[in-house]
């Protein structure tokens, strides 16, 4: 009898535990978390927008935040495409892609510097900008293709971690090569006088460089979209991305497709490099690292492997960095909100990955990145 009475409570407890365990805890935590975060965001934004007029941001300021964010985000998007294309095909993160971008920027810098000194940049702005773009694109493409040939192809069949480590090594190598050859100081990048000042389009006053950035990025995106959708090479790229073994059985030269992918990523990085250098009027051997990390974040945010995801992720990231601190942190009277822009960005990344592990436009399932 005594034994039975002892056992009874434990049985009851066991049954209770079982019921608790059956509750979908993961979901509950996620829901509570998302409600809490949405609440904080809404309250922050509300408090910012209802600040007394003398403290609040005016309409012009909001417009500027959005335009600045779009311009920066568009550049992230171009670089993010390089990450996402390579990932789609090789399932590897090319961590040296930021350095591919940096090399393109430096190549363009040397031409821009010479053209600025000779006055060619101002007398023939279209021609000289064209040359800058071509130089940067060719340089970035060459670096990207060489990277693939030297650092990644020999490791094609190695475990996935191995090329990842090589990529980091390659990134450090390129960074320090640039530092050794070009010096560690930030260099000013010449901007043709045609691009200084503003243009008014549909009643919106925009910096000319921002217009150039947005137009170029849209053109580059459309060109890439058409290339992937319409051309034979684009088709074979999609085939390799879907299943490289079957693709090779179908007669697609996988190696050639991979090289093409790296080349396209490099070309886009070259375009981004010139746009970035024109926007911030400077180049630096370390620029690839920070921008690369941001673009990689954008790719993951949008769903790595997805081209439209990369574009969306880039734009979102740019907007978040520009608009987020002003809109949400100002409401909580956080001092120096812009210093927190990166913490803010990565918080968003974490949240997206918690709720949608595959990224915004990803497959919805977790990819091991």
């Amino acid at each position: 009898m005594a034994r039975a009475t002892e056992e009874r409570p434990t049985e009851v407890r066991g049954a209770q535990l079982g019921r608790l365990e059956r509750l979908p805890w993961r979901k509950i935590i996620l829901v509570v978390l998302s409600v809490l975060i949405s609440f904080l965001v809404v309250v922050g934004a509300y408090r910012t927008l209802t600040l007394p007029a003398e403290e609040a941001y005016g309409a012009n300021a909001w417009k500027n935040f959005i335009v600045l964010g779009f311009a920066q985000g568009a550049i992230y998007a171009l670089i993010a495409l390089g990450y996402t294309l390579v990932y789609g095909i090789l399932r590897m993160i090319n961590f040296a892609h930021g350095e591919v971008f940096m090399m393109g920027a430096f190549a363009a810098f040397f031409f821009a510097d010479a053209y600025e000194a000779s006055g060619f940049l101002d007398s023939q702005p279209v021609l000289s900008l064209g040359i800058l773009f071509v130089v940067a694109m060719l340089t970035s493409m060459t670096v990207a293709v060489l990277l693939e040939r030297i650092a990644y192809r020999p490791l094609r069949n190695a475990p996935r971690l191995v090329p990842l480590i090589t990529a980091i090594g390659a990134a450090l190598f390129l960074q320090n090569t640039a530092r050794g050859f070009f010096g560690s100081q930030t260099r000013g990048f010449g901007v043709p006088s045609v691009l200084e000042g503003t243009w008014t389009i549909f009643g919106l006053t925009l910096d000319r460089i921002q217009v150039l950035v947005l137009v170029t990025v849209v053109v580059a995106m459309i060109a890439l979209g058409l290339f992937i959708a319409r051309t034979t090479t684009g088709k074979s790229m999609r085939a390799v991305a879907a299943d490289s073994e079957i693709a090779s059985l179908m007669g697609i030269r996988v190696d050639r497709v991979i090289v093409t992918t790296f080349a396209i990523g490099g070309l886009l990085a070259g375009v981004a490099a010139v746009l970035f250098a024109l926007t911030f009027e400077s180049v630096n051997y370390f620029m690839g690292f920070r921008v690369g990390i941001a673009a990689f974040t954008a790719a993951v945010l949008g769903g790595i492997g997805s081209i439209y995801g990369a574009a969306l992720g880039g734009l979102m990231l740019g907007l978040l960095q520009s608009l987020g601190p002003a809109l949400i942190l100002t409401g909580y009277n956080v001092p120096s909100p812009f210093q927190l822009k990166e913490a803010f960005t990565f918080l968003v990344l974490v949240l997206v990955l918690v709720f949608r592990p595959g990224g915004l436009l990803g497959s919805g399932e977790a990819e091991k990145v």
């Binding site: 935040f65 560690s184 911030f280 630096n284």
Partner: protein, 444 residues
């Protein structure tokens, strides 16, 4: 068995200690009995930090801990050149042949302060590990000294003498380390003069500040704010950014909303240059930007290129005051150009030159020669000799060291309109548009 093993070990250690102690005594005696004409008797045992002994024929080793790589390389390299010229001038002429001090050569061991606390830690540790280092000229950036190099070197009794640290904290009651001195001005003075210029001369009563969170920028922005608000001005935004940020558009846009008449960004490059170029498009027309002596160097000119006239100013020690002494203009600067192939790249070469010379004078005062060229320098005595510097006629002015390590007590700060800057790449004539002199008592 085991115990006996320990016992013999103990005995061995004991024996070693005895021998070591005997050696130590020997050295002490050598120093004391060898009191020579150049200095008084040196009691190395009484000095808690001991002595540096330099045998005849060996060089006197001085360290430099300056920012010689990376974005702020101009700043540290410029100061290093000042020290190198001081060593050159030990023989009384700038002839690219190093002079001697007390019959010894002087060698300069250059370390990099990296313009960061980490750099100060690494470089300070490297220098403090070398018992032959007599003193260190450095650091370039306050971040490398404050609580880092000043403590590491101070703990070994190695004098740290900075040509360009300006953060007020370094010489404050709370944080000052006894072995730390500087010939650079205290930013309480620089911040006050810039604030007065903006408020009184430019007639602007609203200003925003933007700093890159280094102790230097933070301290200077705070000094500016205090004076500016004291004058009756309003600080619209006190903003911080990261020193590695490239995209400063959103911050400037946020600042522009407060409609400040002036934006004060006392940072290092490239942040100074980037706020200048990006501000042109974002800040309302007519807004003035100001930087400080960290901005005023060649890298700014290279990065920023052309800027609108009357848009950007930077403060610095007024170099035209140094040029009133013929030595700076007629001997020092030509020698600098000759030997390094460039005009000065930053504004602290003269401070470095003065710091090195005060140090050499102090070494001459306290070093004891045993008659055959072996010299002994007591670390504490060396510190006391530098501390006692009073009325020294340096290139930067009359130098008197206060107990808290500030050796520049009366400072003339000038504001230079870009691009008429007194560094390589600036346009001539590089005269300040405004200049004012303050002493430490005025601002403390």
């Amino acid at each position: 068995m085991k115990n006996r093993k320990y016992l013999s070990m103990l005995a061995l250690v004991g024996a070693f200690m005895l021998v070591a102690a005997a050696c130590g005594e020997d050295d002490g005696d050598g120093g004391a009995t060898g009191a020579a004409p150049t200095g008084g008797a040196v009691d190395c045992e009484a000095d808690e930090f001991g002595c540096v002994e330099i045998p005849a024929g060996s060089p006197i080793k001085v360290g430099s801990l300056l920012s010689i790589t990376g974005e702020t390389a101009n700043l540290g390299t410029d100061s290093n050149h000042g020290v190198e010229l001081a060593i050159d001038y030990l023989d009384g002429a700038f002839d690219a042949t190093d002079g001697q001090l007390l019959g010894h050569e002087v060698t300069l061991q250059q370390e990099d302060d990296g313009c960061s606390a980490e750099g100060g830690q690494a470089g300070g540790t490297a220098l403090s590990a070398d018992p032959e280092i007599v003193a260190v000229i450095g650091t370039s950036c306050s971040s490398a000294a404050l609580g880092v190099a000043d403590e590491i070197l101070g703990a070994k009794g190695i004098l740290l003498f900075s040509p360009s640290n300006t953060n007020p904290g370094l010489t404050s009651e709370e944080a000052h380390q006894p072995f730390y001195f500087r010939t650079a001005h205290n930013d309480l003075i620089q911040g006050a003069i810039v604030a007065e210029y903006v408020f009184n001369e430019l007639g602007i009563d609203t200003a925003a500040t933007i700093n890159d969170e280094s102790p230097y920028a933070d301290g200077l922005a705070a000094a500016f704010r205090d004076t500016f608000e004291g004058l009756g001005g309003t600080i619209t935004t006190f903003e911080q950014v990261n020193s590695a940020d490239t995209d400063l558009g959103p911050v400037l846009n946020s600042i522009a909303e407060g409609e400040p008449g002036a934006v004060y960004g006392p940072n290092f490059n490239p942040v100074c240059a980037l706020t200048a170029t990006q501000g042109v498009d974002i800040l309302p027309e007519g807004t003035v930007q100001l930087g400080s002596d960290g901005c005023l160097e060649s890298a700014f000119i290279e990065t920023a290129g052309e800027l609108p006239a009357g848009y950007y100013y930077a403060s610095s020690p007024d170099l035209t005051v140094f040029a009133e002494g013929a030595f700076y203009k007629d001997e020092f600067i030509p020698a600098y150009r000759d030997q390094f192939g460039t005009a000065p790249t930053a504004v602290f070469h003269a401070h470095a030159y003065d710091a090195a010379n005060i140090l050499f004078d102090a070494i001459e005062q306290v070093a004891a020669d045993d008659g055959s060229g072996n010299i002994t320098i007591s670390r504490t005595a060396l510190r006391d000799a530098v501390q006692a510097t009073s009325g020294y006629e340096g290139m930067t002015g009359i130098i008197t060291c206060t107990p808290l390590g500030d050796c520049a007590t009366d400072v003339t700060i000038g504001l230079y309109e870009y691009p008429a800057w007194p560094v390589e790449g600036g346009t001539e004539p590089a005269d300040p548009v405004y200049t004012d002199t303050k002493s430490l008592e005025d601002v403390q």
